[in-house]
């Protein structure tokens, strides 16, 4: 008898959970395919921005985008993925504008005719973090590539993004500069193929070193008790290795290649994000929360 009443209580709750799950699961992947609709011009009031996870995870876009949406009376749909996929979305005409950080890949994107009007937007920097005990003894080294070489020669664990993101490209560049080619599963080096947040959690759990952008590190530091900054100092001004600077660029998807993209709005977005006013907003973002800026404005007049 008692179990019967209990069941009656549980069943509606269960049904609710199940419908909620059913409703939630398909909605996530539809974001991208919806944009693939192809030939026909998109809704005039919608701008699709493909960008990296760092701009979204750090909260920057939430802070500045409402200004653009209100001023233009439009809706900006953000697809936050790795730089590789963000550029692939642009190259397939599935986004109107991209905001990414991997200069070589960006230049290739423009050279192949997929993008036009690339502009610098801002920069932050990369740092090497690792277990506070520092088994490889790299703390406060001045150059990232030398720190990596020392981590490798000590055989200490290193967690790589392994996902062709801007951060992964940077890491590979540093290994190359150190004249090393690490292989996943050998000498403590592992390729995760995951986002920055997940990679930091892995490093914290496994006592591994990793390369991260400072914005993501500052935003998630409180959940990473066993990690500390090894190379890069406490703020970007204290970073001894200027080679670790991480520039972000904005690129409009080429309307000559994809007539259906929202080219006018993309142009206005680029003009807006590189304007003096928004650049000041970007430079001030995060100071109240982290005591230091997460991004530094770098747009110049064309």
């Amino acid at each position: 008898m008692r179990t019967q009443t209990l069941l009656r209580l549980i069943t509606p709750a269960l049904a609710l959970v199940m419908t909620a799950c059913a409703a939630a699961t398909p909605s996530a992947p539809t974001a991208a395919p919806e944009a693939t609709a192809g030939q026909t011009a998109r809704q005039p009031g919608v701008l699709i921005l493909a960008t990296t996870t760092s701009t979204d995870d750090s909260g920057l876009l939430d802070a500045i985008l409402p200004g653009f949406e209100a001023a233009e009376g439009v809706d900006v749909q953000v697809i936050a993925v790795g730089t590789g996929q963000a550029l692939a979305l642009g190259a397939a005409g599935d986004a109107d504008v991209v905001l990414v950080h991997a200069r070589a890949q960006e230049d290739a994107f423009v050279a192949e005719g997929s993008g036009v009007n690339r502009r610098d937007v801002m920069y932050n920097d990369f740092i090497i973090v690792g277990p506070a005990a520092d088994p490889a003894g790299v703390k406060d080294m001045a150059r990232a590539q030398e720190a990596l070489a020392q981590i490798a020669s000590a055989g200490a664990p290193f967690a790589s993004r392994g996902d062709k993101s801007g951060t992964h490209s940077k890491e590979l560049g540093l290994w190359k500069a150190a004249a090393l080619t690490p292989v996943s599963g050998e000498n403590g080096y592992v390729e995760l193929g995951q986002g920055m947040g997940e990679t930091l959690i892995y490093a914290n759990e496994s006592g591994a070193y990793t390369l991260t952008d400072r914005a993501t590190w500052l935003a998630s530091q409180s959940n990473l008790p066993d990690l500390a900054v090894m190379v890069g100092g406490a703020s970007i001004d204290a970073n001894p290795d200027t080679g670790l600077y991480n520039p972000y660029g904005v690129i409009a998807v080429n309307p000559d290649k994809f007539p259906h993209v929202n080219a006018d709005l993309a142009e206005r977005f680029i003009a807006w994000i590189t304007s003096a006013e928004v650049q000041a907003e970007i430079g001030g973002f995060g100071i109240d929360q982290y005591g230091q800026a997460l991004f530094f404005a770098s747009a110049t007049t064309p």
């Binding site: 179990t3 019967q4 209990l6 069941l7 549980i10 069943t11 269960l14 959970v17 199940m18 799950c21 693939t36 192809g38 030939q39 993925v81 790795g82 590789g84 996929q85 550029l87 692939a88 979305l89 190259a91 397939a92 005409g93 392994g162 996902d163 062709k164 996943s184 599963g185 592992v190 390729e191 995760l192 193929g193 995951q194 997940e198 892995y202 759990e205 496994s206 309307p255 000559d256 290649k257 994809f258 007539p259 259906h260």
Partner: protein
Amino acid sequence: MPRCTTGRAVPAQSYSVNLRMIESFLPIITLTLSVSGIALVIASVLGFPLGAWLALARVPGKRLIEALIYTGMAFPPVVVGLAVYLLLSRSGPLGWLGWLFTPRAMIVAQVVIALPMVAGLTQSAIEALDPALRLQLRALGASPAQTMWTLLAEARAGVISALIAAFGSIISEVGAVMLVGGNIAGSTRVMTTAIVLETRQGEFELALALGAVLLSLTFVINFAIMRLGQRREVAPR
């Protein structure tokens, strides 16, 4: 004004995938099959007796256990992954095992996902049998274990569907294995997490090829499980 060279706006892409590409997936395929295979075996060893017991036993609170099992069947796998993660994390109660980010953690998560399916579907399969059979077995003096095995064999079709449903859900699952396995290349990367990775990198062809391999494998395995059930049916009853 814009020069339109082809009818379609999307650049023509060839979805041809060569054999070498598939070959590089081999370790990933092997790991996928062994993780999900072991998880299915463990879930069956635990789930068949549990399902049979639920169908036969008359104990207070049975309905509550049933409700829990049905809830388990609808549980989002990623939440299972989160629970297993917290359990196996260095700061978790089972952290001393050192299983996090290893295939063992992935097996644990998949067992938790598969167990309610195996148990719940086995139970309904046995409950659907003629109740007279159960009484007859008891009258003939069968021990509880003998009764259970006879009923499981009798409800073979339903038990096979339980296996197929459970296997299908764990081999295609991505959230939990990503969380507890870490998607480490050459160590915990399985087909679903590899598909997510390739998609994130914009390697849509590779992702699609992996999806096709996964689908074909699941088809072949389901076919094999079905044949397993049919072959026994031919045997004398």
